[in-house]
Amino acid sequence: MKTIFSRSASVIALSLAMGLTACEKQLDLNPAQSVDAATALDTEEKVGSGVVGMYALLDDPNLYGTNLILVPELLAADSTYINWQGTFTNFSDIANRTTNARNSTAEGIWRVAYQTINQSNLILDALPVVTTPELKKQYEGEARFVRADLYFELVRLYAKQYEAGGTNTQLGVPINLVPVKNVEQAGVQVPRSTVAEVYNQVITDLVQADKLLPKSNGTRASRYTAKALLARVYLQQGNFQKAGEMADSVITYSAKSLSPTLQAVFTNRNSSETLLEIQQNDQNNAGTANSGLATHFASIGQLGRADVAVEGYFAEMYELQDARGTDSLPPNRTRKLIYVGNGARAGALRSGKYTAYGQNIPVIRLAEMYLIRSEAAFRAGNKDAALLDVNRVRERSGATPIKAEDLTLDAILLERQLELAFEGFRIHDLKRTGKRVTSSEPITEDILVLPIPQREINVNPLLQQNPGY
């Protein structure tokens, strides 16, 4: 009896022990849709995927997928331009200038911009495994370009305008250049740098990127994309001479040319005109229901929420023959870039730049370079060169050329608004030129700067909120 019992017990013990060793491995399950961070960027190919991922983040609705284009427009919404009709209060608060520090759009841009900046920091950190010298230079250039681009977007949205010739010690945004890989690093509190420091960082990265990037890089950032962005940065700083030089370099050497029509830049993919274009398709895009540019702008049958209406006042600023204006026809019959919506909120004017969920999103295009060069030339007193460039843009869309005697700075700035309307330029142009949004509000109003997200201030007491929030 006793022997039977002890024998049974030992058999049980043995089989349990065997079972244990066999099963231990069963606890090491790995996720199927993800890979561990430790090995995610440990080869050249994987770093290459990380670079693609960095571009993919740029298409997030919080970045160029929607917000970095839409928000600068909404901040400048008024009865002479556009009007927000949608139900999303995060956007209507921006358009109505009733934003508070809990605005989800202000939080979203901040969150994804810094996530993408960290992605570029991680790529820079992983470069030692990239053994092909050309790829190493290219990846570093792309990471620096994206990082610079996002710091530039952040400092324009979350800080007061850069004052040309000033010390620019007004608060900018925090700068983080270390790759964050674990929870300890993610707890490091960083205060806001000054606007001057952020611009310096942006220019440092872009100058590097200019040297590192190849002259041609498919649909991704090339040397000329970096130069084009530099032109934009210098322009925002009021450094017109350098802005003009950079724009000139892009126009002269990039081999880009104006597309025959502006419409084609938006409906076709990767036209001859674009220097940076966010790639989308029907499967991978910024959204079809609650986000995405076509979602907010379009009113074409069942497509689009028709949230952004173009004011008639603005549409009438185009000449009758200007292809960028309107012929008051529905989207299926119009030959112009502003149509009368026939879907949601039918009857109002809509921009024809965003008409399909899966279309690419042009971010920097050659026409902007002509306008920068024109403005720089005008401000330098070279009216002939300025006239040539501004009219090049006008003539492409069938507008009558400006006569030499009519050329003023305001005419060039108006042309920027007409050409680059709905593309995320408006508030930034108003801020750098000191023009008013509406007759009652000066452009230096606190509310025209986005709030530092309250949620971020809660976890980082070093962050100082913008005035007015």
Binding site: M1, I4, F5, R7, S8, V11, S15, L16, M18, G19, L20, A22, C23, E24, Q26, L27, L29, P31, A32, Q33, S34, D36, A37, A38, A40, K46, S49, G50, V52, G53, M54, Y55, A56, D59, E107, R111, Y114, Q115, T116, N118, Q119, L122, N176, V180, V183, A186, G187, Q189, V190, Q279, N281, D282, Q283, N284, N285, G301, Q302, R455, N458, V459
Partner: protein
């Protein structure tokens, strides 16, 4: 894959040696107190699983070891223990019992007699869940479970049911109990893709259930270790018993209607309110018809139409069920075979649930020492679903359409597509939303008794779940857009478990009895999901994604899984059946836990003292039974997500290029389960020949290491990390009382239970606030309503007012103080069942009550907002402020003005209710009559479910909690266009052959 599957099955399969000993055969007869034969009594050799049951004449025969003790048990009778000695025949008489003290109770990896249990458990039997017109069994036991609150959350067929055992013990992880069917933990969480959860437990046919045991305290649940904090529900399916084969045929048919409908304005009232609202608009005195046109609402204020859109989304439903089962067997082989078909047409338009299921439970004695068995079920269910509450497709949202707009366009005689909001009745004719399930629960086991008292058992079980979701909307519907939309999703969950246990039972002399259990268990669950989404169908006759021109972003293929390795043991010791002591321990390892914390140990201890066995209380005419017990132990909650501990990179495509990005959720290698320590004190009693019996428990549950997401600095590229921080506490009291009021020819019994639970968050990283009122805050109960407090209406101007921090009022909600404005947790819940029988008639009435909770109507800003927009308004909005009606709590009607429409306590109301849950009147035909029809039994019955509800809540139904705002377990008591429950009347018949 094959290898992966085999390894766990090989894990710990026990090999044991055989042994021989002398055996003998005993025969006997069991009768009731009046001497008539008792069929179906379970006769068990104590400490073994060797047993049989009595035949129609009450007789049995069983081969036992020498010195065996027999345990005779039957539902409704007190269990009797008889030492065999050298007898070969035994005559026994069982005392009937209204208490269930003698009843066998299913516990983790075994059974115990109720009187010996030192933990807190609630057991329900087949009669509680049979033939109730519900989809899943949890819905049938509402009101019968002290300490366990069950909320159906909505009237959608087959959707999720919310169960809380002794309160919520988690903030972010699941609060649903662990479900174990025939020893196998099953998939009980929604695996579908829709926001509206499906209930995977609906795949178990309630008529196959023999018993449901809910393990509530640590002593009973800790044997399930890291998954026991939310309680454990053990379901045992019916087994065949030795004896004549029994054939049962059942059928019922019934009709259903909504329990209640919220009342909205009719055409005249709507016109009056909106016309007035337009005149008071902040943009001046507006003309309502002009506004309706400029807003393109398609409302014609002169249409003369008076449509009832509330009724349009609801209808009368139907229920039918066909049920057939056979059970029986001989000394060697027992079987239970069943098939059921259940068809329910819901009260929400478009909602229908059908389930066909078959089950075979077999058990065979190879020899006296060796027994094998197999439980196997296969279920097919088809659910025509109702969309999530927060969708224009939800038929309840039709109530927002103004009564001036007709349902049917008078010109085209077709459904009117030009309504203020989408007329989702169009969906019914132009699409489908169907979830089809194939499900199989199975358990195979081998039972071996090498020597007396020692039982080795190995069981392997699998739970296969295959879900097909098909969603199609033709062109012309809202989702279908210009060209049609289709989505198809296939989910396969394979979940297998092996349990290997050794149980040793020993009685030493008359005084000491010991039961020891040791075991090993392994579980692995794998989920695979493949989905496809398409737009652009040639026409409405093409409904599959293959026909779609564009395959869009919802297309995907996913896989996930988890595993558990567990070792466990338990010892129960009883001295003279008076002093009881028990301890259990379990060590769990899981793939879900962080690498620094992969194993955890959970244990519990309990003691009991049966005072009524003491000399000073024995032979006491008043007191029959008295036991006090206490337990303390530690359990865990492992529902923390499968890979939350890891730092991960995910794929993110850039148009047609493949990219990867670092997840902005930072991994935490220290991540571990949530820990709950629970103390329980209980007393069980029986008085006056057990005519009054009951149970009282008090408990305190302290949960620490709550899994919370801690916000990180966005600036570092991170968003959050999941950590074990935070703690909460639940304290409660539960009382159940059973009385036999009359016990002659006319029998009347009453079962009453009431439960009190108080929860409090004791530590938290940061407050959690939903965009509604639901919130988690330190020092407050879970889910506390937090927000602006509505202060009524300014009698001077009709402005809505809110309280500021200083206690004054303001008409700007932004300046209102954020404060506690309600509590969705009931002060107490319970139920009362009265059962009457006389001759062949039986009547049972089940009442259920919930008291002291608040409900927030999250649709208030749209439907009870004094005409701020064109949505039809609830009838109470007629009380709006006017210069002639200055003292009211409804602000002045103002079109386009947010006068009182911000999220606030304005739409918080009491959610207490008393519901007559079930009334069943049955008549069993007398024996002499049925014998003529070759029948063994025949019963006809009529039954009403949710017969009536007494409540002050003026919404659809107070038993509500919308699932449309995600699965956040702290979001309680929110109503958002949520459909009501069904009130069902049915008539049925059960025949036994």
């Amino acid at each position: 894959m094959k290898q992966n599957f085999l390894i766990p099955l090989a894990c710990g399969v026990l090999v044991a040696t055989s042994a021989t000993a002398q055996t003998r055969t005993i025969s006997g007869r069991v009768t009731d107190a009046s001497g008539s034969a008792l069929p179906g009594v379970t006769v068990l050799e104590r400490g073994t699983t060797n047993g049989t049951s009595t035949g129609a004449d009450g007789s049995f025969s069983l081969t036992v070891q020498p010195g065996a003790t027999l345990v005779l048990s039957s539902i409704g009778f007190e269990t009797q223990t008889i030492a065999v000695g050298d007898r070969t025949t035994i005559a026994a008489s069982l005392k009937s019992s209204a208490t269930e003290l003698g009843e066998a109770v299913v516990v983790g990896y075994g059974t115990q007699t109720k009187a010996d249990v030192t933990g807190s458990v609630t057991q329900l039997s087949a009669k509680d869940v049979e033939n109730v017109p519900v989809v899943s069994f949890e819905q049938a036991i509402q009101g019968r479970t002290p300490g366990v609150t069950i909320n159906q959350t909505s009237g959608k067929l087959g959707s999720g049911v919310q169960i809380r055992v002794r309160g919520a013990s988690s903030v972010t992880a699941s609060n649903q109990p662990l479900y174990v069917i025939d020893g196998i933990p099953v998939t009980s969480q929604d695996v579908g893709s829709d926001t509206e959860p499906l209930n995977p437990l609906a795949d178990l046919n309630p008529n196959d259930i023999e018993s449901i045991t809910i393990l509530k305290d640590a002593a009973s649940a800790a044997i399930y270790g890291s998954r026991a904090s939310n309680g454990v529900v053990l379901v045992t399916t019916k087994q065949g018993r030795q004896g004549k084969s029994k054939v049962n045929v059942g059928y019922y048919i019934g009709t259903s209607s909504p329990t209640h409908k919220r009342k909205f304005l009719n055409a005249a009232q709507y016109t009056e309110l909106l016309t007035e609202a337009a005149l008071n608009s902040p943009f001046g005195r507006l003309d309502i018809q002009e506004e309706a046109e400029s807003e393109r609402t398609n409302i014609d204020f002169n249409s003369g139409v008076d449509e009832n859109w509330v009724d349009a989304g609801l209808r009368d439903g139907k229920v039918t069920q066909y049920d057939f089962n056979v059970s029986g067997g001989d000394a060697k082989t027992r079987f239970y075979l069943s098939t059921t078909y259940n068809d329910q047409t819901g009260i929400i338009v478009g909602n229908r649930y059908r389930r066909g299921s078959a089950r075979i439970n077999l058990d065979h004695s190879i020899s006296e020492k060796l027994r094998v068995g197999l439980n196997l079920s296969l279920t097919r269910s088809v659910n025509d679903r109702t969309p999530t509450d927060n969708a224009f497709d939800n038929p309840i949202q039709l109530n927002a359409i103004p009564p001036l707009q007709p349902k049917i366009d008078p010109v085209t005689r077709q459904l009117n597509p030009n309504t203020l909001y989408y007329n989702n009745l169009l969906n019914l004719e132009n699409g489908s939303n169907r979830a089809g399930t194939y499900r199989s629960f199975s358990t195979a086991y081998l039972n071996f008794q090498p020597i007396k008292g020692l039982t080795l058992r190995t069981e392997a079980g699998a739970d296969f779940l295959n879900l097909n979701e098909d969603f199609y909307r033709a062109a012309g519907t809202q989702t279908g857009g210009n060209s049609g939309y289709g989505f198809s999703n296939q989910v396969q969950v394979i979940n297998y478990t092996t349990n290997n246990t050794a149980t040793y039972l020993k009685t030493i002399g008359e005084d000491h009895s010991i039961e020891a259990l040791a075991g090993f268990s392994f579980q692995r669950s794998d989920t695979k999901e493949t989905s496809a989404e398409g737009r652009g169908f040639p026409n409405a006759e093409f409904t599959r994604i293959a026909s779609a021109a564009i395959k869009t972003a919802g297309t995907g293929s996913l896989q996930s899984g988890f595993s558990f390795i567990s070792f466990f043991g338990r010892v129960n010791y009883a001295f003279q059946n008076k002093y009881l002591i028990s301890g259990s321990v379990r060590r769990d390892g899981s793939s879900r836990f962080g690498s620094n914390n992969q194993y955890g140990t959970f244990g519990a201890g309990s003691i009991g003292w049966v005072l009524s066995e003491e000399g000073f209380l024995q032979d006491n005419g008043v007191l029959n039974f008295l036991k006090i017990r206490a337990s303390y132990g530690l359990t865990g909650n492992a529902e923390i997500g499968n890979f939350a501990s890891r730092n991960l990179y995910n794929a993110l495509p850039y148009a047609d290029q493949a990219g990867i990005i670092r997840s902005n959720v930072v991994g935490n290698p220290n991540l571990t389960w949530e820990n709950t320590a629970q103390a329980d004190l209980g007393v069980e009693f029986g008085f006056l020949d057990n005519r009054i019996s009951g149970e009282v428990d008090v408990y305190e549950k302290k949960t620490r290491d709550l899994l919370l997401s801690r916000p990180l600095l966005y600036v570092t590229g991170a968003s959050s990390v999941t950590e074990n921080v935070g703690s909460l506490r639940n304290r409660g009291l539960e009382v159940s009382l059973n009385t036999r009021n009359f016990d002659k020819d006319f029998k009347w019994t009453t079962n009453f239970n009431i439960s009190f639970n108080r929860s409090k968050i004791t530590a938290l990283a940061a407050p959690i606030q939903s965009q509604f009122l639901g919130s988690v805050r330190e020092g407050q109960p879970i889910g506390v309503f937090w927000g602006a407090k509505y202060a009524g209406v300014n009698p001077e101007n009709g402005d809505a007012l809110y309280y500021t921090a200083e206690g004054s009022t303001t008409n700007r909600i932004g300046q209102a103080a954020q404060q506690k404005v309600g509590d969705p947790n009931p002060k107490y819940t319970g139920g009362v069942t009265n059962t009457f029988s006389y001759k062949g008639f039986d009547l049972s009435i089940l009442g259920q009550f919930v008291y002291g909770n608040d409900i927030y109507n999250a649709a208030g800003p749209y439907q009870s907002s004094n005409g701020t927009y064109f949505d039809n308004q609830t009838i109470d909005q007629l009380k709006r402020w006017t210069p002639d009606n200055r003292f009211t709590d409804v602000p002045q009607a103002r079109l386009y003005s947010s006068n009182g429409t911000g999220v606030s306590s304005r739409w918080v109301s009491g959610g207490s209710f008393l519901r007559v849950k079930n009334v069943t009147l049955g008549y069993s035909l007398p024996q002499d009559l049925i014998k003529r029809g070759y029948l063994q039994s025949a019963r006809i019955y009529v039954s009403a479910q949710n017969l009536f509800t007494i409540t002050n809540y003026d919404g659809y139904d107070p038993e509500v909690n919308t699932a449309s705002f995600g699965a956040a377990s702290y979001l309680l008591g929110h109503d958002f266009y949520t459909p009501p429950l069904a009130k069902t009347f049915l008539v049925g018949v059960n025949l036994g052959f």
